[in-house]
Every structure is written in C-alpha cells, then in structure tokens.
C-alpha cells in the first residue's frame, strides 16, 4: 500500500490516465469525421478543437476538487440550476423550443448543468441514508428528479429531460432500490403511456410514428432515417474512405455534422471503423465502471456508476437513432457531434470520475 506522497505524477495532478487517453482518442476520431462531415471546413474543425480544449480544462479543474466537496456543493448547483430552468421557462430564447438563457454575451442551456447536478444531488442525499432506501427517501428523490425533468420537457426538450431523469433514477437504482418498486414503476408507466401519448407535442408523436414506419413520411421526418440507413448500409466492412461518403457529400444526409455524424462515420469508415470507435468508448466506459467499483465512499461510487451508465445511454441512443432502431430524439454522439455545450458537460463528468478515483484515502495497489 502506497501513501499519497508516493503516487505517480498523473495521480498527484488528479488526472486519470486511462480516462484521459480514451477521451482524447474519441475526440481525435470526432475531429477527423467532422472535417469530412462539415464539407472539409477547417474553420469548423478548429472551432470544435477549441471547445475540446475548453472541455479538457474544465475536466482538469473539476478533478482537483475532492468528492467530499463536490457532494457538499451538489445541492447548491442543483438549486441554482433549477432556478435557471425556471428563468428559461419565463424568459428563454431559441427557435421553436425555449432552451437557451442569455446572460450578457453568454448563451447557455441550464438543462446541461442539471445533467450533472441531478445525479450528484441524489447521490449526496441518499449516501448517508440506510440503503436500500425506504419509501420516504424514495419519494423525496422522485421530487428532486421530477422538478428539473418537468421544466426541461416543457421547453420542450424531451430527449434531455429523459436523460436527466434517467441519470437521477440510476443513482437510486445503484443505491439498491427494491425490485418491487421498480416493477411497480414499470407497471405505472405501462398504464400511463397512452395518457403520455396525448400529452406529447405533435412533433414528438410524429417522431415515434415515423420510427415505426419511416416510409410513411418520406418527405418529412422519415427522410432523415431513410437516408441515414442508406449511408450506414452503403459503408460496408471498410467504408468508402475518408471524404468519400456520397450520401453525406451529395447532401442526402441531414444534420450530418451534428446528430447524424455517426452515419457519416459509418459510411466512410465501415464496420471496422465503427468497431474502433466502439472500442474507444468501451475503454472509457470500462474505466468508469472500474472507478465506481474502486470508490470508497457511497457518494463516489453512486456518482461514478450513474455517470458511466449515462454516457453509455448517450452513445446507444444516438447510434440507435442513426441506425433506425430508436426514434429521432436529438441526442448528440458524445465528443463526436459538432457542438459545444454537451461536450463541456461530458468532459466535466469525466473530471468528476477522475476526482473520485484520485482522491481515495486508502489506495490499494492498483
């Protein structure tokens, strides 16, 4: 057993090598495919690279803060985040959906804060309770999760709302939520699903219908799915080669730099390329799960497990959407899709994982 003073350099800097390596690998893959998807715009790639650096900075900064302090600050962020969501509800800007808040020149989505604040807060709340949690605890956690969830789905941004709620519920699940409750919740969902169907916005309903039968609306939403599947399928084993994707370059593929960037990747790099990308994601995910196992505090392990699984959900939902298995919900592919907000949130999440890993009090030989 080594003491803190004997740790290697990276650990002393509170940086986890495996996590950093995996994240950088994915980022590089992302920039390569973005160059092609953006129509070979170096400017777009540079801008994205700059955001990645910003994300890395946020990651390193967060990693310096001990989990104990993160736990203490979690509820504060939760309250601020909820207040901002309320502000968006009142004065939000943005086309179609109100998601953005403008403060001076800064424009951001408060819902992004909640992607981290909700699991952290729930973990902080249940970590000192007797586990598995009893009914009153479960009830309070539900309220904690549903308040931001309701605001975000009202924006309307159903995809993000589901992710926020899921991140919170995952903490509860890892805390040992009784199977009886899980079964009961599943039953309630089955009963309420038809009611939810009526409460949905037209475009949300449309997306689900289109998934069931994309050919039904080939001029509208179904067009995305049809063209995306053609792009993926025509990639084959090894792909058409970098910058040679016809689907994307002939502009058949919509949203090709953002939500559908995975289709461009599949078309140009084929199944082998996809396996490389999946391997890179697996590295990060496996390290996340390992950190959860190794965590010594209840808070740390709940947060680590929840964040890792949430990352998996991101990846799966986006790839499922591009390959026509899930509805079009507008979830970007982590660290690959063009766009800054979710990138910084993800990197911050990695920072939290690193903090949990590197601030352990008893380091068992690793």
């Amino acid at each position: 057993m080594r003491t803190a003073s004997e740790r290697d350099l990276l650990t002393r800097l509170h940086i986890d090598g495996a996590l950093l390596g995996g994240a950088l690998l994915i980022c590089v893959l992302g920039l390569v495919v973005l160059y092609s998807a953006s129509g070979q715009s170096l400017e777009v790639v540079m801008r994205q690279a700059l955001r990645m650096l910003l994300g890395l900075g946020a990651m390193c900064a967060i990693a310096q803060i001990s989990p104990l302090r993160l736990a203490r600050w979690a509820p504060v962020f939760y309250v601020i985040g909820t207040a901002l969501l309320f502000a968006v509800f009142l004065f939000g800007t943005g086309r179609g959906a109100h998601r953005w808040l403008e403060i001076g020149v800064i424009r951001f989505q408060p819902s992004e804060i909640m992607k981290l604040a909700v699991p952290l807060t729930v973990a902080w709340f249940v970590s000192d309770k007797i586990l598995p949690p009893k009914l009153p605890i479960i009830a309070i956690v539900f309220v904690l999760i549903l308040i931001p969830g309701a605001f975000v789905s009202e924006q309307p941004d159903l995809g993000t709302a589901i992710l926020i709620v899921t991140a919170g519920l995952l903490v509860l699940f890892f805390a040992g939520l009784s199977w009886r409750w899980i079964a009961a919740a599943a039953a309630v969902i089955v009963v309420l699903a038809p009611i939810g169907w009526y409460a949905m916005h037209d475009y949300q309903r449309q997306r689900i219908l289109t998934l069931l039968d994309p050919a039904k609306d080939p001029l509208g939403t179904g067009y995305h799915i049809i063209q995306s599947i053609i792009a993926v399928g025509s990639g084959g084993w090894s792909g058409k080669g970098w910058l040679n994707g016809t689907q994307s370059h002939l502009e058949f593929l919509p949203e090709r730099a953002t939500d559908f960037i995975f289709a461009v990747y599949c078309e140009e790099f084929g199944l082998l390329g996809v396996l490389v990308m999946l391997a890179a994601y697996s590295l990060v995910l496996a390290r996340g799960v390992q950190i959860a196992f190794a965590a010594q505090e209840v808070f740390g392990r709940l947060v680590a497990a929840s964040l890792s699984v949430t990352l998996f959900i991101y990846i799966f939902v986006n790839m499922g959407m591009v390959t026509g298995q899930l509805p079009v919900v507008g979830v970007p592919l982590p660290m690959v899709s063009y766009g800054g907000t979710s990138l910084v949130t993800l990197m911050t999440g990695f920072g939290i994982l690193m903090s949990i890993q590197t601030h352990r009090r008893f380091i068992v030989e690793s």
């Binding site: 050919a215 993926v232 399928g233 990639g235 016809t246 599949c266 084929g270």
Partner: protein, 633 residues
C-alpha cells in the same frame, strides 16, 4: 476473468449512520453494477448486430441505393380545389396547359438552340424578358420555363423538331383558369407563383412540387382547404437524375372544392351597373350573412397573374389612376355620410334624447351656443319643423346635428360601433379594413388633442373622423334588415370533398345583437328609410316609384371638397375627381328582407342620383329572378 476485481472494505471512514450496513450496501451496489454491465454489453451487441445487418448482410442493397441508382422522392402536387358560385357555375377551374421548359445544363449550345427555336416558336417582348430574367436567376440544373400556354400547333411543331433542341421539353400541367375573368377578380382573387415570404410560411413538404399559391381573395383565405395534400413517388434515378423505375407511389389528396354564396347573375348585373365608374357594391342575404354580390370596379383579369404577369402589364395596372388592383369593397375607406342617419336616429330613440314625434326646427343651419360657426344643412333654405321619420326621409342635417349634440360623442361611439362601424366585419376574405369610428380616447391617442363639441356635430352626419368600407355599409344595412341581429358576412357557403362528394356547409356566425330591444324603435327608423325611397318627400323617391315591393334605403353623399362658409358651389363647377362620392344603403323587401346592399360610386355626386338607382335596378333583378326561380320549382 473479470477486468477488475470487486474489493470489499470492512471499515470506511466517514459519516456512516449508526444503522448503516456498509458491507451489505456494497454487495448490493456491486450486484447492481454487474447487472447493468451485462445489460450494456447486450445492448452493445445488439447495436453491432444491427450494424452487421446493415453494413455486411445488406451492404449490396444499400450500395445500390446510394451509388448507382439513388433513391429519390418526387413529390406529386395535389390538384387545387375548384371554386363554384351559388348556382354551381365554375369561378376557378384547373385547365391542362403545355409549357416549353429548359434545363440549361443539358443544352450544349444554348445560344444556337434559342436562335433556331425562335423560328419555330415566337416569343413577344414580354415573354422574352420574363424568360431571360428566369434564366439568369436560376441555377444551371434547374428547370426554366421558356414559354407558357403553348397552342396545340406550337406543341405539334415542337414535337416534330424536338431532336434539334436538346435540353428542351414540353411539360403538361394544370393551370388555374378563371372563366369569368375580371367579374370576380376582387372576390375569388387569384393564384400566383410562390414568393420568398410565402416559402417561409408554408409547409415545405406539402408544397414541394406546388408552383402556385393563393395571393388574394378566396384563393388566399382558403388556401389550406384548396391546396390539398401532396403525394409522392419513390423513384430510382441514375446519376443524371433520369427516373429509372417507380418503386412506390402515394397519390396526392386533391384540395377541397368550394361553393361560394355569390350569385353570378346578380354579380354580373352589379358589374354592369357600375360600368365606366369607380366604386363598389356589396350585397348580403340578411337571414344568413351570405354575400350575394361583391364588386369592386374597375377590376382586372386575374388570369394574367396565374403564370406570372409581365412587368409592363403590371405597371400599367399599378399606375392606372383608376386603381383597378385596389379592392374598394374591402379596403376602400369612405366617409359614410348620411347613410349613418338611421343608426343615429335609433340611438337617439334608445337613449331617450328624442321621441318619435319630437320636432326640431331646421332653418337651414345650426349654431352652437357661444360660437359663430354655422353648421349648415344641405337644404340651405331649411326643412322647417321635422320629426324623426321625416328627418331620415329628407336627410335633414340640422335634426342630426342637434341629436348628436344631445347624444354626445361617447354614446354615439358606443352605439354606432354596434352597427359595425370602426371594426372589421370578419368576413372570410383577407385584408379587410375596419374603417374609423372616432372617440375622445382615439383623438387623444392619435392627434394628442381633446375632442371638440363641433366634431360631434360633424360626426352626427357621418363626416369628419369617420370612415367605412362598402362592405361595412352593406353590413349596416343587413343589421337594419334583421332588426338588430348581427350576422358575420361570409362568402364560402360549403366545402365539398371531390373524392367522396361529401359536402360540409358552414353555419351562419352570429355576433351579439345591437342592444336596442324596442321593436318600436326599429320600426320608426325603418319607416324613415322606407320614406326615403317610397315616401312623398324622400330624397330618393324618384328611384323607388313603381316598385312591386316595399323596400328601405338611405342615401349618402361623402364630401371631398370643403366648401367655405357662406358660399355655395355648384357641383358642375368641380372637376370630376373632386366631386362627392355617392353612397346608398338599402334592403328589400321591407318584411322578411332577402337582400341588403351597400353601394359606393366614387365621384358620383349624390347618393340619390347615382347610387340609389343602382339599388333599385339590382333589387328588381334579384327579387324577380327569385320569384322566377320559385315559380319553376
């Protein structure tokens, strides 16, 4: 072998609660995480399996789709709904027409082709200019129309010489046609090419393939019903975009056919009654609010707009001093003049400032106490003692100056508003104006000035700060015909689904009635209106004489030229543009009215001489026609 070994800790530093069981909790946590890992691995395998299915098993299929034969979705534009009149006469039809189109990219020597084509198909200057503009605006691979509406001879000549003109092709399509041309231009409106502003508003998917959109009138108001739902066909095209095979076809749903409330015979009669004059006529069926005729003169041929009007023709229409593009019936604002006197009279009765038999002495003018200004009556020698019915019949200004002074502007504003003045009637046509009905508050807001007592007097005879559209005048006549019931005027009677033949008729929309409950008050005002046309001394008694039916009306003259105090000017001295507008509102027959009218003849000098005879003419025509119809069945 697991990637990482679960570790257990017998003791944890920290704030564990006394009853917590760390070992048990940890075990539970680890079981859950393992379960989740298994779940994630399975989902990941599912994803890989799906990718294997798409990228390996069906690779050839998707390669075909993406490379050699690209799947393309071609829209099928729906057939636009037709528009019919009340009697089922076509007002807007779709006709097949042939256009010669060109894809510049596919013409190797465009200059030579155009030169040689000129010998086969001739273009006039307007057409050449339009073609050149379109050619310059569009991209090389977009379709450009060389000439619209080819004659059959031109189609035949081109077909024979087609091999000489690569890139050119004849396209058959349906074009909107308005059989009755200018007669319904201001009611039915017209369609035209979709412009940039409209592009942002419409559902791009549904208009993919549609070239035209309703621009004015019913065509614009009912665009959603008329347009229909676009169909599509999935086709395989080669790299050049040529269609190789139709994979799937979904037919378009045609637009709904519309049946309007207008009577073409009455409309034609109204158009010819206004021939050579600028003005507007609106006829409404009182029982339903259905618009029977809707004329704004002069008009234009809507067919000119369908395939893009030439710049020359458009500037001619736009710059014409008679303003044929201007929809006078809907947007023309005229001082209503004496046509509001029946409404003034009934308001005076309702508020009790005048009784039925109260007389006002008219010496030819009225002066407000403490003011030198004389408010003059049109009858400069005065009417003598007039009661309410006579005041309406002879249109005595002094009676209504005095009534207005006693009512006050606030009560006038309240009650005249009930007759539809100062607000839109909400007819189902686009661009309606609401006119002007002044109030103290309006003047303070817009002019930053207080209301002066003299303005109340001027308002009392429908002049000053008061403007109304011919539609509003007809609407006011309808309210009198209905004794206070207010129906929203409408032009669409029913909507017919061309596939099923199912007809959905609209129900008349009612507004809250004029809050004057006394039948006697209505009777008195209407008696005055009846006297106007069929009484001994009515202003329009000349036109009412000899009618087979009893009817009611009110003349009005909207002053354009301010006459200085103490001077009289003969109208003949004024050039035509400065002559007064002639107005008339009327309904017939007196009991169970079937038609109400609002008429404005611009520069027609006086309501009784120009506008009132038109009403008589239209009533005779319409009521006889109806009787004739009844006799037939």
């Amino acid at each position: 072998m697991p990637l990482f070994k679960p570790r257990r800790f017998s003791s944890l530093r920290g704030n564990s609660a006394p009853h917590k069981a760390p070992a048990r909790e940890l075990g539970l946590f680890q079981r859950r995480v393992w379960l989740t890992v298994i779940g994630m691995v399975m989902l990941a395998l599912l994803l890989v399996a799906r990718l294997f299915f798409l990228q390996v098993l069906h690779h050839d299929h998707y390669t075909t789709l993406s490379q050699e034969n690209r799947l393309r979705v071609l829209p099928i534009p729906p057939t636009r709904g037709r528009i019919y009149s009340r009697e089922g006469i076509l007002l807007a039809d779709n006709r097949p027409s042939f256009a010669l189109e060109l894809i510049p990219e596919e013409a190797p020597d465009l200059k030579r082709s155009l030169r040689e084509l000129g010998q086969v198909i001739t273009l006039d200057d307007d057409e050449r200019q339009r073609f050149q503009t379109e050619l310059n605006q569009k991209r090389r691979f977009d379709t450009v129309t060389f000439k619209n509406n080819l004659t059959e001879e031109e189609v035949a000549v081109f077909a024979v010489n087609r091999h000489r003109f690569p890139g050119f092709d004849i396209k058959a399509r349906l074009t909107r046609y308005y059989p009755l041309g200018s007669q319904f231009a201001h009611l039915v409106g017209f369609v035209g090419r979709i412009n940039v502003e409209e592009l942002n508003r419409i559902d791009a998917g549904n208009y993919n393939g549609t070239t035209q959109i309703g621009k004015e009138g019913v065509e614009k108001a009912q665009e959603d019903l008329l347009h229909g739902v676009a169909g599509y066909q999935n086709v395989e095209v080669n790299a050049q975009g040529r269609v190789l095979r139709v994979v799937e076809r979904m037919p378009a749903v045609p637009g709904q056919d519309l049946h309007l409330t207008v009577d073409t015979a009455l409309q034609a009669a109204a158009v010819s009654a206004l021939a050579g004059q600028s003005g507007a006529i609106v006829a409404i069926e009182p029982a339903t609010g259905a618009v029977l005729a809707f004329v704004s003169n002069p008009a234009f041929d809507p067919n000119e707009f369908v395939n893009g009007i030439s710049v020359r023709l458009y500037s001619a229409l736009r710059d014409s001093p008679d303003r044929p593009l201007f929809n006078r019936a809907l947007q023309g604002l005229y001082p209503p003049g004496s046509t509001i006197k029946p409404a003034m009279a009934i308001s005076a009765l309702h508020y009790g400032v005048r009784g039925a038999s109260d007389r006002t002495w008219c010496p030819g003018w009225l002066r407000l106490p403490g003011h030198a200004h004389r408010y003059r009556c049109w009858q400069k020698d005065g009417h003598g003692g007039v009661d309410l019915v006579r005041a309406i019949a002879e249109s005595c200004d002094v009676y209504f100056y005095a009534a207005a002074k006693d009512l006050g502007i606030d009560r006038m504003h309240e009650m005249l508003g009930q007759f539809g003045l100062g607000k839109r009637t909400d007819i189902d046509l686009p661009g309606e104006l609401g006119g002007l009905l002044a109030s103290r508050e309006w003047k303070r807001r817009t002019r930053k000035l207080p209301w002066y007592p003299g303005e109340t007097l001027i308002n009392g005879i429908g002049q000053g700060f008061m403007l109304a559209t011919p539609l509003q005048l007809a609407h006011m006549a309808t309210i009198f015909a209905n004794r206070g019931e207010v129906l929203v005027p409408h032009v669409v009677a029913s909507v017919e689904n061309p596939l099923t033949g199912k007809v959905i008729a609209g129900a008349p929309a009612r507004r809250s009635p004029v809050p004057i409950p006394s039948a006697e008050h209505w009777q008195l005002a209407i008696a005055g209106m009846h006297e106007v046309v069929q009484g001994e001394r009515g202003t329009a008694r000349a036109t009412g004489a000899g009618a087979q039916y009893a009817y009611a009306g009110k003349t009005g003259t909207a002053q354009l030229f301010k006459i200085a105090q103490n001077r009289t000017v003969k109208n003949e001295d004024l050039i035509k543009k400065l002559r007064d507008h002639a107005l008339f509102v009327a309904f017939a027959p007196l009991e169970q009215p079937r038609i109400a009218l609002g008429i404005v003849v611009e520069n027609g000098e006086s309501g009784s001489h120009t506008a009132a005879p038109i009403a008589r003419q239209l009533f005779d025509f319409f009521l006889n026609q109806q009787t004739g119809d009844d006799a037939h069945g």
